[in-house]
Symmetry: C2
Subunit: 138 residues, 2 copies
Amino acid sequence: MNKHTSLTMDLTKNQSLVMNALSDAKTPLSAYTILDVLRDHGFRAPLQVYRALDKLVEFGLVHRLESLNAFVACQHPSCEGEKNETILFTICEKCGSVQELLSDKLVGAMRNLADEIDFTLKESVIELRGICSNCKDH
Amino acid sequence: MNKHTSLTMDLTKNQSLVMNALSDAKTPLSAYTILDVLRDHGFRAPLQVYRALDKLVEFGLVHRLESLNAFVACQHPSCEGEKNETILFTICEKCGSVQELLSDKLVGAMRNLADEIDFTLKESVIELRGICSNCKDH
DNA sequence: ATGCCACACGTTATACCATTACGCAATTAT
DNA sequence: ATAATTGCGTAATGGTATAACGTGTGGCAT
Protein backbone atom coordinates (compact mmCIF):
# COMPACT_ATOMS: atom_id res chain seq x y z
CA MET A 1 0.00 0.00 0.00
CA ASN A 2 2.76 2.33 0.94
CA LYS A 3 6.24 2.03 -0.45
CA HIS A 4 7.92 3.18 2.71
CA THR A 5 8.54 1.69 6.11
CA SER A 6 6.69 1.50 9.36
CA LEU A 7 7.62 4.99 10.44
CA THR A 8 6.39 6.28 7.14
CA MET A 9 2.93 4.93 7.89
CA ASP A 10 2.62 7.56 10.56
CA LEU A 11 3.22 10.43 8.20
CA THR A 12 0.47 12.91 7.66
CA LYS A 13 -0.99 13.47 4.22
CA ASN A 14 1.20 16.48 3.48
CA GLN A 15 4.29 14.77 4.78
CA SER A 16 3.60 11.74 2.58
CA LEU A 17 3.10 13.87 -0.48
CA VAL A 18 6.39 15.67 0.05
CA MET A 19 8.16 12.41 0.84
CA ASN A 20 6.91 10.81 -2.35
CA ALA A 21 7.85 13.81 -4.43
CA LEU A 22 11.40 13.55 -3.13
CA SER A 23 11.56 9.79 -3.49
CA ASP A 24 10.48 10.02 -7.12
CA ALA A 25 13.02 12.70 -7.96
CA LYS A 26 16.40 11.82 -9.42
CA THR A 27 18.00 14.94 -7.98
CA PRO A 28 17.48 17.15 -4.94
CA LEU A 29 14.42 19.40 -5.03
CA SER A 30 14.05 22.89 -3.68
CA ALA A 31 11.10 23.65 -1.44
CA TYR A 32 9.53 25.77 -4.15
CA THR A 33 9.95 23.07 -6.75
CA ILE A 34 8.17 20.72 -4.42
CA LEU A 35 5.45 23.31 -4.03
CA ASP A 36 4.98 23.44 -7.81
CA VAL A 37 4.94 19.67 -8.08
CA LEU A 38 2.26 19.42 -5.43
CA ARG A 39 -0.05 22.22 -6.58
CA ASP A 40 -2.33 19.65 -8.18
CA HIS A 41 -2.61 17.99 -4.79
CA GLY A 42 -3.83 21.16 -3.15
CA PHE A 43 -0.61 22.79 -2.02
CA ARG A 44 -0.84 26.56 -2.16
CA ALA A 45 1.84 28.02 0.11
CA PRO A 46 5.55 27.49 0.91
CA LEU A 47 4.82 26.87 4.54
CA GLN A 48 2.97 23.68 3.75
CA VAL A 49 6.16 22.36 2.19
CA TYR A 50 8.52 23.67 4.85
CA ARG A 51 6.47 22.24 7.68
CA ALA A 52 6.45 18.82 6.08
CA LEU A 53 10.17 19.04 5.34
CA ASP A 54 10.97 19.99 8.93
CA LYS A 55 9.29 16.86 10.18
CA LEU A 56 10.80 14.60 7.54
CA VAL A 57 14.28 15.90 8.31
CA GLU A 58 13.57 15.40 12.00
CA PHE A 59 12.58 11.79 11.29
CA GLY A 60 15.77 11.24 9.32
CA LEU A 61 13.84 10.46 6.13
CA VAL A 62 15.05 13.53 4.30
CA HIS A 63 18.33 15.41 4.28
CA ARG A 64 18.92 19.03 3.55
CA LEU A 65 21.78 19.98 1.25
CA GLU A 66 23.10 23.29 2.50
CA SER A 67 25.12 24.13 -0.57
CA LEU A 68 22.09 23.68 -2.82
CA ASN A 69 19.27 24.92 -0.64
CA ALA A 70 17.53 21.71 -1.56
CA PHE A 71 16.35 18.43 -0.12
CA VAL A 72 16.84 14.72 -0.90
CA ALA A 73 15.16 11.56 0.26
CA CYS A 74 17.48 9.55 2.46
CA GLN A 75 19.16 6.71 0.60
CA HIS A 76 20.34 4.94 3.68
CA PRO A 77 17.66 3.06 5.64
CA SER A 78 19.63 3.30 8.87
CA CYS A 79 19.11 7.02 9.02
CA GLU A 80 15.49 6.53 9.82
CA GLY A 81 14.60 7.31 13.36
CA GLU A 82 18.10 8.28 14.39
CA LYS A 83 19.77 11.60 13.94
CA ASN A 84 23.02 10.84 12.23
CA GLU A 85 25.82 13.11 13.20
CA THR A 86 28.09 12.71 10.22
CA ILE A 87 26.87 12.01 6.72
CA LEU A 88 28.74 12.86 3.57
CA PHE A 89 27.12 13.77 0.27
CA THR A 90 28.65 13.86 -3.16
CA ILE A 91 26.97 16.19 -5.61
CA CYS A 92 27.60 15.81 -9.32
CA GLU A 93 27.86 19.20 -10.97
CA LYS A 94 26.96 17.73 -14.33
CA CYS A 95 23.86 15.59 -13.73
CA GLY A 96 22.91 16.93 -10.32
CA SER A 97 22.75 13.47 -8.76
CA VAL A 98 23.55 13.05 -5.10
CA GLN A 99 25.11 10.11 -3.35
CA GLU A 100 24.94 9.64 0.38
CA LEU A 101 27.80 8.02 2.27
CA LEU A 102 28.39 6.95 5.83
CA SER A 103 32.06 6.38 6.45
CA ASP A 104 33.46 5.27 9.78
CA LYS A 105 36.86 6.51 8.72
CA LEU A 106 35.49 9.94 8.01
CA VAL A 107 33.56 10.07 11.25
CA GLY A 108 36.75 9.16 13.06
CA ALA A 109 38.73 11.84 11.29
CA MET A 110 36.11 14.42 12.19
CA ARG A 111 36.03 13.41 15.82
CA ASN A 112 39.80 13.56 16.08
CA LEU A 113 39.95 16.97 14.50
CA ALA A 114 37.22 18.26 16.78
CA ASP A 115 38.91 16.78 19.85
CA GLU A 116 42.23 18.35 18.93
CA ILE A 117 40.81 21.84 19.09
CA ASP A 118 38.45 21.06 21.95
CA PHE A 119 35.36 21.58 19.81
CA THR A 120 32.16 19.83 20.87
CA LEU A 121 30.82 18.45 17.63
CA LYS A 122 27.05 18.39 17.30
CA GLU A 123 26.46 17.99 13.60
CA SER A 124 28.47 18.16 10.42
CA VAL A 125 27.76 19.38 6.94
CA ILE A 126 29.95 17.63 4.37
CA GLU A 127 29.15 18.12 0.73
CA LEU A 128 31.62 17.24 -1.99
CA ARG A 129 31.20 18.91 -5.37
CA GLY A 130 32.53 17.21 -8.46
CA ILE A 131 31.74 14.80 -11.27
CA CYS A 132 30.18 11.41 -10.65
CA SER A 133 31.50 8.22 -12.21
CA ASN A 134 28.66 8.10 -14.73
CA CYS A 135 29.20 11.58 -16.12
CA LYS A 136 32.96 11.27 -16.13
CA ASP A 137 32.88 8.82 -19.02
CA HIS A 138 31.08 11.15 -21.42
CA MET B 1 48.62 52.20 5.36
CA ASN B 2 46.69 49.10 4.60
CA LYS B 3 46.39 46.33 7.09
CA HIS B 4 46.33 43.60 4.48
CA THR B 5 48.89 42.02 2.23
CA SER B 6 50.26 42.76 -1.16
CA LEU B 7 47.34 41.29 -3.01
CA THR B 8 45.05 43.39 -0.92
CA MET B 9 46.66 46.53 -2.24
CA ASP B 10 45.11 45.79 -5.59
CA LEU B 11 41.60 45.76 -4.23
CA THR B 12 39.14 48.31 -5.45
CA LYS B 13 37.51 50.70 -3.03
CA ASN B 14 34.36 48.63 -2.67
CA GLN B 15 36.33 45.43 -2.27
CA SER B 16 38.46 47.00 0.46
CA LEU B 17 35.45 48.27 2.32
CA VAL B 18 33.84 44.83 2.31
CA MET B 19 37.11 43.17 3.24
CA ASN B 20 37.58 45.48 6.21
CA ALA B 21 34.02 44.98 7.35
CA LEU B 22 34.61 41.23 7.40
CA SER B 23 38.03 41.50 9.03
CA ASP B 24 36.62 43.61 11.83
CA ALA B 25 33.73 41.26 12.49
CA LYS B 26 33.96 38.58 15.14
CA THR B 27 31.46 36.36 13.35
CA PRO B 28 30.43 35.72 9.76
CA LEU B 29 28.37 38.46 8.15
CA SER B 30 25.56 38.09 5.67
CA ALA B 31 25.68 40.14 2.49
CA TYR B 32 22.81 42.30 3.70
CA THR B 33 24.46 42.92 7.05
CA ILE B 34 27.53 44.10 5.19
CA LEU B 35 25.29 46.35 3.13
CA ASP B 36 23.91 47.93 6.29
CA VAL B 37 27.38 48.37 7.76
CA LEU B 38 28.57 50.13 4.63
CA ARG B 39 25.63 52.43 4.00
CA ASP B 40 27.55 55.29 5.56
CA HIS B 41 30.27 54.66 3.01
CA GLY B 42 27.88 55.03 0.12
CA PHE B 43 26.66 51.51 -0.40
CA ARG B 44 23.07 51.47 -1.60
CA ALA B 45 22.35 48.11 -3.23
CA PRO B 46 23.01 44.41 -2.56
CA LEU B 47 24.83 44.04 -5.83
CA GLN B 48 27.63 46.28 -4.68
CA VAL B 49 28.25 43.84 -1.87
CA TYR B 50 27.85 40.70 -3.92
CA ARG B 51 30.21 41.88 -6.62
CA ALA B 52 32.91 42.65 -4.07
CA LEU B 53 32.32 39.34 -2.32
CA ASP B 54 32.61 37.41 -5.58
CA LYS B 55 36.04 38.87 -6.19
CA LEU B 56 37.23 38.44 -2.63
CA VAL B 57 36.17 34.81 -2.65
CA GLU B 58 37.90 34.37 -5.99
CA PHE B 59 41.10 35.83 -4.49
CA GLY B 60 40.85 33.47 -1.54
CA LEU B 61 40.58 36.34 0.93
CA VAL B 62 37.05 35.49 1.95
CA HIS B 63 35.16 32.24 2.38
CA ARG B 64 31.48 31.58 2.05
CA LEU B 65 29.76 29.50 4.71
CA GLU B 66 27.04 27.57 2.95
CA SER B 67 25.16 26.53 6.03
CA LEU B 68 24.88 30.14 7.21
CA ASN B 69 24.54 32.02 3.93
CA ALA B 70 27.28 34.23 5.26
CA PHE B 71 30.90 35.18 4.70
CA VAL B 72 34.10 35.29 6.76
CA ALA B 73 37.52 36.78 6.24
CA CYS B 74 40.10 34.10 5.66
CA GLN B 75 42.11 33.31 8.78
CA HIS B 76 44.79 31.40 6.98
CA PRO B 77 47.28 33.47 4.99
CA SER B 78 48.08 30.60 2.67
CA CYS B 79 44.63 30.74 1.19
CA GLU B 80 45.46 33.96 -0.55
CA GLY B 81 45.94 33.62 -4.24
CA GLU B 82 45.27 29.91 -4.37
CA LYS B 83 41.93 28.20 -4.50
CA ASN B 84 41.98 25.70 -1.72
CA GLU B 85 40.08 22.56 -2.41
CA THR B 86 39.42 21.36 1.09
CA ILE B 87 38.98 23.66 4.04
CA LEU B 88 37.10 22.82 7.18
CA PHE B 89 35.17 25.28 9.30
CA THR B 90 33.91 24.91 12.82
CA ILE B 91 30.92 27.05 13.71
CA CYS B 92 30.05 27.65 17.34
CA GLU B 93 26.31 27.59 17.81
CA LYS B 94 26.59 29.63 20.99
CA CYS B 95 28.84 32.57 20.12
CA GLY B 96 28.75 32.28 16.35
CA SER B 97 32.51 32.26 16.01
CA VAL B 98 34.13 30.39 13.17
CA GLN B 99 37.45 28.66 13.06
CA GLU B 100 39.15 27.68 9.83
CA LEU B 101 41.24 24.53 9.58
CA LEU B 102 43.42 22.97 6.93
CA SER B 103 44.11 19.36 7.74
CA ASP B 104 46.24 17.12 5.56
CA LYS B 105 44.67 14.11 7.22
CA LEU B 106 41.24 15.32 6.32
CA VAL B 107 42.19 16.13 2.76
CA GLY B 108 43.60 12.62 2.46
CA ALA B 109 40.46 11.06 3.85
CA MET B 110 38.37 13.02 1.37
CA ARG B 111 40.50 12.03 -1.57
CA ASN B 112 40.38 8.38 -0.59
CA LEU B 113 36.66 8.42 -0.21
CA ALA B 114 36.21 10.13 -3.54
CA ASP B 115 38.56 7.70 -5.25
CA GLU B 116 36.75 4.70 -3.80
CA ILE B 117 33.52 5.67 -5.50
CA ASP B 118 35.22 7.05 -8.59
CA PHE B 119 34.09 10.59 -7.87
CA THR B 120 36.12 13.45 -9.33
CA LEU B 121 36.39 15.88 -6.46
CA LYS B 122 36.38 19.56 -7.38
CA GLU B 123 35.56 21.31 -4.15
CA SER B 124 34.34 20.42 -0.72
CA VAL B 125 32.07 22.07 1.76
CA ILE B 126 32.84 20.99 5.32
CA GLU B 127 31.18 22.85 8.15
CA LEU B 128 31.07 21.44 11.66
CA ARG B 129 28.40 22.73 14.00
CA GLY B 130 28.93 22.58 17.72
CA ILE B 131 30.29 24.42 20.74
CA CYS B 132 33.72 26.03 20.77
CA SER B 133 36.20 25.57 23.58
CA ASN B 134 35.52 29.03 24.95
CA CYS B 135 31.77 28.65 25.26
CA LYS B 136 31.99 25.12 26.57
CA ASP B 137 33.30 26.30 29.92
CA HIS B 138 30.33 28.52 30.75
C1' DA C 1 -19.73 14.96 28.07
C1' DT C 2 -16.84 19.10 28.88
C1' DG C 3 -12.99 21.43 28.74
C1' DC C 4 -8.25 21.45 27.80
C1' DC C 5 -4.14 20.56 25.17
C1' DA C 6 -1.24 19.32 21.44
C1' DC C 7 -0.75 19.17 16.77
C1' DA C 8 -1.39 19.54 11.91
C1' DC C 9 -3.19 22.63 8.70
C1' DG C 10 -4.33 26.97 5.66
C1' DT C 11 -3.54 31.80 4.47
C1' DT C 12 -1.37 36.18 4.29
C1' DA C 13 2.27 38.92 4.80
C1' DT C 14 6.92 39.73 5.33
C1' DA C 15 11.84 39.03 5.74
C1' DC C 16 16.01 37.48 3.94
C1' DC C 17 19.22 35.97 0.15
C1' DA C 18 20.84 36.50 -4.69
C1' DT C 19 20.79 37.62 -9.70
C1' DT C 20 19.39 39.85 -14.27
C1' DA C 21 19.45 43.69 -17.07
C1' DC C 22 20.73 48.16 -18.38
C1' DG C 23 23.83 52.06 -18.93
C1' DC C 24 27.99 54.77 -17.71
C1' DA C 25 32.94 55.63 -16.72
C1' DA C 26 37.75 54.35 -16.39
C1' DT C 27 41.56 51.40 -17.93
C1' DT C 28 44.18 48.59 -20.98
C1' DA C 29 45.45 46.35 -25.44
C1' DT C 30 45.79 46.65 -30.14
C1' DA D 1 41.97 56.29 -31.74
C1' DT D 2 39.16 52.57 -30.90
C1' DA D 3 37.81 48.17 -29.19
C1' DA D 4 37.67 45.22 -25.23
C1' DT D 5 37.57 44.67 -20.46
C1' DT D 6 36.43 45.79 -15.91
C1' DG D 7 34.28 48.14 -12.12
C1' DC D 8 30.48 50.77 -10.74
C1' DG D 9 25.40 52.41 -9.77
C1' DT D 10 20.50 51.63 -9.97
C1' DA D 11 16.16 49.34 -10.57
C1' DA D 12 13.69 45.35 -10.96
C1' DT D 13 13.01 40.75 -10.13
C1' DG D 14 13.52 36.01 -8.62
C1' DG D 15 14.39 32.49 -5.09
C1' DT D 16 14.48 30.92 -0.17
C1' DA D 17 12.45 30.92 4.46
C1' DT D 18 9.73 32.40 8.51
C1' DA D 19 6.27 35.10 11.49
C1' DA D 20 1.78 35.66 12.91
C1' DC D 21 -2.75 34.75 12.72
C1' DG D 22 -6.70 31.64 13.07
C1' DT D 23 -9.19 26.90 12.24
C1' DG D 24 -10.09 22.08 12.93
C1' DT D 25 -9.36 17.64 14.99
C1' DG D 26 -8.19 13.95 18.19
C1' DG D 27 -6.69 12.46 22.78
C1' DC D 28 -7.51 12.48 27.45
C1' DA D 29 -8.14 14.04 32.34
C1' DT D 30 -11.62 15.46 35.05
